[in-house]
Symmetry: D2
Subunit: 110 residues, 4 copies
């Protein structure tokens, strides 16, 4: 994670792109990349989106999109001094309270 | 990252939610969470989206969304056996080739 | 459509909100509303997303999101002097060329 | 609007694509198209996203995306028997109640 973060910073500063990387703009880019990942699954059934049904070409594209997503997510977190892993860990107990096991088991939520 | 991954797996299996978590469905949830992050910045200027201009309430919401985003991203990666950090690291040299410094410096890309 | 456009303009000008409604910001709001529509279908199967399987509550929410989506789309079109219906009509022959019937019939595209 | 709807139906039935067009899948495609529209504005300032600053190439791309967006929106509405214009008109008084003029004037909302 530190290696990735350093590579991103070098890449951005070498191109003087920090000026474009407001959290607002980065959140747009992040959403766009997630939509591109989603597009890969768009006309597939949920079954066809599982790893054993995906072609090598699909897996290659998915990995590329995941790479872009983590890069933009880390840029946002770097800019706003947020640790995404910590925030993920903090969210789990909240979600556990929101969806108690007894009421949630086997139910698609909401 | 391992702690987070374990917590997610426990959370999901305790609720028997794996059945809903096809990559297709998770990619929808991930995109939705990114759109919620983006919504926080929607009516702000790019300047107002920088950390020194954000209120505590905004920062709290941003952290919550970042937590949700990393959780869904890791669920997808777990399901498809992808290492997001590795994919991010692999993407940097590709992006460097796509956007050579000499042509990209100070230009908003594309 | 004209009635809707007039109502939107009155609503926006009464609140002096035109200043926030750059095409950039509106495109963020539009994407957010579409993600909210998508969220309704997120954990459903494709079958469960069909009208005969949707609850009245789901249909009510879907209609609300569709209302928001058309409002933001028309705001963007008004701001940029685009006629969305004309653009839709123009796209059909392009799409027909891109996806010739003989090669596309019954294939999920791409 | 009727012309557009008829063209869409012919296009889809000639390719036997109705089978892929569940509301769930269409909502993904719609969100993806909105994200592509948004991408055009991603690195621009809000000012640069206004019509007088956009290049002909940008305007061409925007119109193409708007065409795709209205097509997918109408496909969803056709499948679920929703009239988007009516839903837009119904939403305005709700929004007016939610954002009273006296409290909303000149404030970026929320």
């Amino acid at each position: 994670m530190n290696i990735l973060m350093k590579s991103i910073r070098n890449f951005v500063s070498a191109r003087d792109w920090g000026q474009f990387h407001s959290p607002k703009n980065l959140s747009m880019a992040l959403t766009k990349e997630c939509a591109e990942l989603m597009e890969i699954f768009q006309w597939k059934t949920t079954d066809e989106s599982e790893s054993e049904k995906l072609s090598d070409v699909d897996m290659f594209r998915i990995k590329e999109e995941v790479g872009d997503i983590i890069i933009y997510l880390m840029m946002i977190c770097d800019r706003l001094e947020i640790d995404p892993i910590q925030e993920g860990i903090k969210k789990i107990p909240n979600n556990a309270r929101k969806y108690p096991i007894s009421q949630s088991i086997g139910n698609s939520r909401k």
